[in-house]
Symmetry: C3
Subunit: 191 residues, 3 copies
C-alpha cells in the first residue's frame, strides 16, 4: 500500500497504523515541579502492545477542565487519534476534573471501564473506589481515563487492553459519521 493512499477508506483492521493521544494531567507536573512518571509508563505499554506502528502524541496539561476538554476534542477530531489515554485528575480534590472534562466530549460513555478498574483493584487497594475514572467514544476515537499514580497506570492499562483493542478494531472498521450506503460520502479531515 502506498503511503498516499492511507485514507479513511483504508484505515481498516488490517492497517496497523495507529495514533494515540496521551495526556498527563497534573498542575505540578505541568509546572515542572515534579517529573511526569506516569506518561512514559503508558507510552511503554502502548509500544509493547501496538508495536512500532503506534504514533504517540504526548501532552502535559494542568488540571483545567476547559483546556482538557479542548485538548480531547483537538486530538480526536483534528489530529485523528484512534485512542486517547489520560492519567491523573480522577480523584476527589477540587482540581480533579478529568472525568468531567472527558464526559463533556463523549458521545457514548462506557461505564464499565471505570467500574472494572475499581472493582478489580478493590481487594488489594480498598481506597480505589475514590477514583472517578471513566471512558467512552467520540466519533472514531476511544477515550480512557487512567489514575495518576505511576505504580498503577501499567496494570490498569493491561486490565483494559482487550476491550481497548476490540473497541479500536470496531471503530476503525465502522465509520460513525458515514452517510448511509446510498449516500456515498467519506468523512473529511486528516482521518
Amino acid at each position: 500500500m502506498m503511503p498516499g493512499t492511507l485514507t479513511s477508506a483504508t484505515r481498516t483492521r488490517e492497517s496497523k497504523y495507529m495514533k494515540v493521544g496521551r495526556i498527563t494531567l497534573s498542575d505540578r507536573a505541568s509546572a515542572r515541579i515534579y517529573k511526569d512518571r506516569s506518561g512514559p509508563r503508558i507510552d511503554h505499554v502502548l509500544r509493547e502492545v501496538f508495536g512500532s506502528e503506534v504514533q504517540i502524541e504526548p501532552v502535559m496539561l494542568p488540571d483545567d477542565q476547559q483546556r482538557i476538554s479542548e485538548t480531547l476534542r483537538e486530538l480526536a477530531d483534528v489530529r485523528g487519534c484512534d485512542l486517547i489515554v489520560t492519567t491523573g485528575g480522577t480523584g476527589i480534590g477540587p482540581r480533579d476534573v478529568t472525568p468531567e472534562a472527558t464526559r463533556a466530549v463523549l458521545e457514548k460513555e462506557l461505564p464499565g471501564f471505570g467500574e472494572i478498574l475499581r472493582v478489580t483493584a478493590f481487594e488489594k487497594v480498598p481506597t480505589t473506589i475514590l477514583s472517578r475514572a471513566t471512558a467512552g467514544v467520540r466519533g472514531h476515537c476511544l477515550i480512557v481515563n487512567l489514575p495518576g499514580k505511576p505504580e498503577a497506570v501499567a496494570e490498569c492499562l493491561a486490565i483494559l487492553m482487550p476491550a481497548i483493542q476490540e473497541g479500536l478494531a470496531y471503530l476503525r472498521d465502522e465509520d460513525p459519521h458515514a452517510l448511509p450506503p446510498t449516500g456515498g460520502g467519506s468523512s473529511p479531515g486528516p482521518k
Copy 2:
C-alpha cells in the same frame, strides 16, 4: 378468580399472571437480513422461570432511538407490561442506542444491573466492559437491557433473575402512582 376481576387491585404477588415485552433491537434482524436468535432464547428462559402464566409480547425494531423509546413507553404504560427485556444495541457503534432510548423513559435507573453483567463476565470475556447495558423502573414496569449476542442472553438473564423477581414482586405489591391512603384513587389504564 374470574378473568373480568383481574384489576390492578388483584395484581398482587399471589397473582402469577405476568406480561413481558421482549424487544429485539437490530437493523439487520428487523430488515430480515438475518434471523433473530436472541429473542427466542429470552422467551425460553422467561417461560422456564415464570411458567405458563407469562404472556410475552415479542417486538422487533431497528436501532432507532426514538422508536425504541416510544415502544418502551407503549409497552409499559398502555399495554401494562410488568417487565420489558431488550436484546441488542448496547455496544459502542453509532447505531447502538438502546441505553439512551431506555434511560430516556426510566423514572429510576438501576446501575447495578449493567454493572453486575459486566463485572461477572469480565474474567472470561474482558471485552464485556464495552457494553453499556442499563436497567430501571418506569411506573410498575421493570426494564432491563441485555446484550445482543444469542450466546449471552440466557446466561445474563439468569444472573439478573433473582433481582428481577424481587423487583417484580415489589412493583406488583406497591402502586407507584397511588394517592396517599386517604386519597383513595386507583390508577387508570389497563393495569
Copy 3:
C-alpha cells in the same frame, strides 16, 4: 488546643475531632410507626472506628426528596459535618428518593461506593443490584448512602471504611474553597 482555636486552619489530619451527620430515611420510622434500628448501628460503628472524638448528629426524616437535600446541605455547609451517612431510601419504590436527593447536592459523585457495595454483596444477596446507593463530595464533606436494612448497614460501612477514612483525611487537609496561595482568604462559616 483551646476550643476557640478550632478553625479551619487547625482542622488538619492531626486533629481527630470529627463531626458526622447520620440521617435515617424512612416514612415509617420518622412517623414512629417502627423504631429506627439502622441508625444506632451506624453510630456504633462510627464510634468504634473514630473513637470518642467523633460527634454524631442523628437526624430522622421521611422519604421527602426536597427535605433530604435541604438537610444534606445544612449538615455539610452550615453545621460543618466532615461526613454524612444516610440509611434507607435507596430502593426502587416511588418513595425511595435518597440517591436523587444526594446527587442533587453533590459536587463530585463517586460511583465506586455504590458499585462496590452491590458487587461485593451480589454473590450472597443477588437482589442487592436493586440498590441505587451512591456517594460523593460536597465542599469538605463526604456523603455516603447506605441501604436501610439494619442487618446490612454495619457490614456495608466496614466495606467502605478505608475509602471513607482516606477521603476524610484528604478533604480535611485540602480546602476545596480556598483561594489560590496569593489570595490569602480563609473560608467563612463554622468550618
